[in-house]
Symmetry: C2
Subunit: 646 residues, 2 copies
């Protein structure tokens, strides 16, 4: 008879992931989990020695799952489990997954402390390892109904049930949740799902047991562009992304213009902030609508930005941040109620802001650092984050330096004659034939390149395309080392505009979606040179300060449409020489860092630590800065300076 | 030369009270304080033994006070002080007041722990002893200016200075305070005054050192009337008071009508709440304007109310509170940000709500209990709080029982033919001559009585007047024991209205400000009988439950214009027999309790404790309730039942 039982298949559902499957009766819960890709910590390898693989056997009838789960549906308690688990834990259904064998259908909750670190691929990012441990978690439970003999108030009833069921103590209930609590508790016969923030505050109560997963959003707030990522906070899954122009551009193209606006215009600071908060609300609404959800279901937003955007977004007085001694109002990470900012998500939800580093280096650079983790590296990494302001980090586990440099928005596709942000219709890749001077290019949203594609959807050129085109113009001999267009070439692609200035025609009007020639002007090339010169000089200063004459790795980051082409970046001389094998383009690392902070609270603590530890290097005050900057404007080809360029 | 110094007079200023005066050099700080009425704890009587009289000698130039203070301006450190004070405390300027002698002008801060309990008279309340220890306190300090070599962010700079100067640690800064922090710190050359809530949260930063004292408001939110008290949170002084009708009356006269409105009308609950919150904002604005201040300077409001008003004011769903098993949404004391409620005081300020007891007994009764403190008493106290709902407490330090009874609003002057709330123009005292049947009465706002005053400002009659007039009508033989008006008396005061119903004319049209006869109808008398009957029966049930056949003291409370006349209340049979010497009318004890909770955080903890401990007794469900209630309607005169009436 024992054998018969062993051969029966039973159903098992793991929470909170919702993974389900059938396993033969007699399988240990750990083996079942491993077979279904559910990560349970088992340090001793399932030998019953470490006591880490604690899981909770749920009790009850689960209508939507179509099964009944009971503590009696697993094998009897072993002596080892009695040693590792307290009587209270045993009463709550705790077992060790490596010892408890499945006998009948089961719902098993894997508590956070038992989950293994998860290796995930951040879409449009690098493969990065993190523990799925968001600030927001959901707990389902059934309360004893109110009666004349049990007339506890609703809040107390809920808190005591949470303590009894999950051992959660000393919780606070957000005021907005209290308001409707009597209705919410009674709607589904006292069965509710509670959303807890940071293990201490109830920020949502929803009637019923199997409710939608919590949503979270990470936003990289750039001076020019916002990039937003919508995530499932229970599974870590990326549910959507969206980007839009920074609406503050209407009040000033760059940071200084906006500080000036905030200081001189009436309610200027409030207007800047309101524009941003509305944009964030719209992003939340758009992204959730696309998956059939609502912005009010978003429980947390993590924001990263440079220090100026940080002040503008949070409505902090920016005047003193913009003048010596460049002191921000606040540096530490902040948690602000969504309703205090007027962001239209769950009003009890949280807006988490990553910390500011010293000087002008902002939370966006902290996000890059927690994504790239140079502080765990033995080799020396040079990290370049390209935005309207460039941020550069250099170092390893021993020491970490940061600086920022004014690159201007050219490398993001702004202030370029036909520049645009990375969106469908933007030229993102360019190659130029050194013989014919004819280009090939690829447009975002199209698989084929021009001229294979005769008519393209090209509307302009984005950051990665700009870098490509300048590098290729030089490689094809169309521009000189100094960046000057050669007007004596026999090609229709090089021509003069009405005022006699030379330009290169990248796309003819008839191929494009805008029915205009898309051209690269002498001014565009100059803007790229200024940007790359600033970055190069900044990196060099950091190397001198660190005391190294080469770097082991170069990481190119930036919120481009696709990854920056590292060959083009090298050809331009964007950074000091490095083995091309050791140069990596990682896309929007700041956005990745924001998502990691959203999905794993430990990353927030890491961010707070690194923000305090990183040393800020002020480069613009160096006496030889100007001379070195001018020198760095030329486009290199010399083998001595860049042996790896070949 | 020593003698010369001893004969010099020096100036001394005590903070935070601001008391100042001149004392001979050589006086101890304790003696100076005692001479100026500044309470400093000195358990050992100034013998240098207890170490309790710790004070802080301030350092610096105090422009507005016109003096310079220094640690060097007091006598040298004694061995006893070195024993009692740590090196850090000595560095911060701590001394023992009984040992340190004044040598030159001084500013001395008396820290909270060293202040003695204060005996104060709550205006319009009893003399009650409390420790002045509000949730809100102010701290002045000067920060080191920001510089390139000290570029800490503004928040950090402030927090570190507060820790260094006052030993305050782990503070949080409200988001609304962060916004303008850079401006506030720099406005007066880095000198600021910080307002701290509950010793942990910065809720206000004001430039400069000697700023206005924090303001707080206590409000007793009655079903019919709001009574508000504006207090100086540094001195405890009552700065003003105001009252107004409960604006929710427009949505329903009584609690049940308002619950029904909230449940059936669209946004009914929101409208009820908004009306109340606007009224609170208006009260704050009016009261502060009267003393030349602004509502935004109010840092805390303490609210007390019955459970229904508690739900309506906080916007809590009231449906389930009004039906069996009568479960409130929340019972514990609540602290809610003023901005979350939209009350227009300091947006970072706090709205504190006293806790709800079991059943329908609300925070207003808890306020009465912390004002009267029956739980500290050896003798058995009967406390009757008269409002639209009456609350009755009975007990002593061993046991405490509560019940509530539906009195209706008659005893507050509502639903009475010429009833009005206690405001100028209301008749608050009445006597009737048993021979002539002619009345004497006194109007709020006038010193003299009618008929000494031939023309009065009478507009109507308030609660205390109603109780007086019914008791006097009976004493004068105008109404029977059953409350019926005798129509056969030879007096023009008793007459019939158009429909033939008897009434008593309290004031002739020509004496009044409304140019109408003010009359007491048979219906008015009936309403008072119903109210007093409900209270009497409730008190009797509590005595039976407690197991006592008499009470040692009776406390009559209620938000009347003046105190209820205890003789009239006894004559009516409002409460069981008691020695008249032991009957006290204490006015608005709920309002007093709210003020005590505003001025002393320990009173809030006491409130939370007593709310959990008091036993609720449900009386209306008793089988003999109806019969006993009917019996209690008659107006007593029998010596056996009320031996003390005589």
């Amino acid at each position: 008879m024992g054998l018969e039982i062993m051969e029966k298949d039973v159903e098992i559902v793991f929470q909170p992931s919702g993974r389900r499957g059938r396993v033969p009766a007699g399988t240990t819960i750990l083996a079942a989990a491993q077979g279904m890709g559910v990560g349970i910590e088992a340090v001793c390898g399932g030998k019953g020695v470490c006591g880490k693989c604690r899981v909770i056997i749920e009790e009850g009838r689960f209508e939507k799952l179509g099964l009944v789960s009971s503590k009696a549906h697993v094998s009897g308690l072993s002596a080892v489990e009695e040693k590792f688990l307290s009587p209270e834990e045993l009463a709550r259904g705790y077992r060790l997954a490596c010892l408890a064998q499945v006998r009948e259908s089961l719902v098993v909750t894997v508590p956070e402390e038992s989950r293994t670190a998860k290796q995930v691929i951040l879409e449009q990012g690098r493969e990065r390892s993190y523990r799925l441990a968001p600030a927001v978690k959901q707990y389902s439970l059934v309360l004893p109904p109110a009666s004349l003999s049990d007339a506890r108030d609703d809040r107390q009833r809920l808190l005591e049930a949470l303590e009894e069921r999950y051992g959660l103590k000393d919780l606070i209930v957000d005021y907005t949740v209290l308001r409707d609590l009597p209705l919410l508790l009674r709607k589904e016969e006292w069965q509710v799902t509670v959303t807890l923030w940071q293990g201490r505050e109830i920020i949502r109560v929803v009637p019923g047991a199997e409710v939608s997963h919590s949503l979270g959003i990470a936003i990289d707030v750039g001076t020019t562009t916002l990039a937003a990522f919508l995530c499932d906070l229970t599974t870590g899954e990326l549910l959507g992304k969206a980007s839009r122009m920074n609406p503050q551009i209407g009040y000033g193209e760059d940071v200084l213009a906006r500080i000036s606006y905030a200081m001189t215009e009436e309610e200027g600071r409030e207007k800047l902030q309101q524009a941003m908060l509305e944009a964030i609300s719209v992003l939340a609404e758009e992204m959730t609508a696309k998956i059939g959800r609502e912005a009010l279901e978003v429980d947390e937003i993590v924001l990263v930005y440079n220090t100026a955007m940080h002040h503008f977004t949070l409505g902090l007085e920016p005047k003193h941040m913009g003048r010596s001694p460049f002191v921000p109002a606040v540096s530490v990470p902040l948690d602000i109620k969504a309703r205090d900012l007027g962001v239209k998500i769950n009003p009890a939800g949280n807006i988490h802001s990553l910390p500011v580093e010293a000087g002008f280096v902002g939370p966006d650079n902290v996000a890059v650092l927690i994504a790239e983790e140079p502080y765990r590296s033995n080799s020396i990494k040079l990290i370049i984050d390209i935005g309207t302001n460039g941020e550069i980090d250099l170092g390893n586990k021993d020491r970490l330096l940061s600086t920022s440099c004014a690159t201007g928005p050219a490398l993001e596709g702004a202030q370029i004659a036909f520049g645009m942000r990375a969106a469908p219709g933007a030229i993102e890749r360019v190659e130029i034939d050194p013989e014919t001077k004819e280009p090939r290019y690829k447009v975002i949203g199209e698989d084929k390149w021009y001229p294979e594609l005769k008519v393209t959807g090209a509307q302009g050129i984005c950051g990665s395309g700009i870098i490509d085109v300048v590098a290729e113009l030089h490689r094809a001999g169309i521009i000189s080392k100094a960046g000057r267009i050669n007007g004596r070439l026999e090609t229709p692609r090089v021509r003069k505009d009405e005022s006699g200035k030379l330009q290169y025609v990248l796309a003819w009007a008839e191929e494009t979606a805008i029915h205009k020639d898309i051209v690269i002007t002498q001014g565009d090339i100059r803007a790229v040179q200024l940007a790359k010169g600033a970055i190069y000089v900044g990196a060099r200063y950091l190397m001198e300060k660190y005391g190294c004459d080469h770097v082991d790795e170069v990481i190119l980051a930036g919120a481009f449409g696709s990854y920056i082409n590292k060959r083009s970046a090298m050809a331009l001389g964007l950074f000091p020489d490095c083995d091309p094998e050791k140069v990596k383009a990682v896309g929007n690392a700041a956005g990745d860092g924001a998502r990691l902070a959203l999905l794993d609270v430990e990353k927030r603590r890491e961010a707070a630590r690194v923000a305090r530890q990183v040393e800020f290097v002020e480069t613009a005050v160096e006496p030889d800065f100007q001379a070195r900057f001018m020198e760095a404007l030329s486009i290199p080809h010399a083998k001595d300076e860049f042996p790896h360029l070949g």
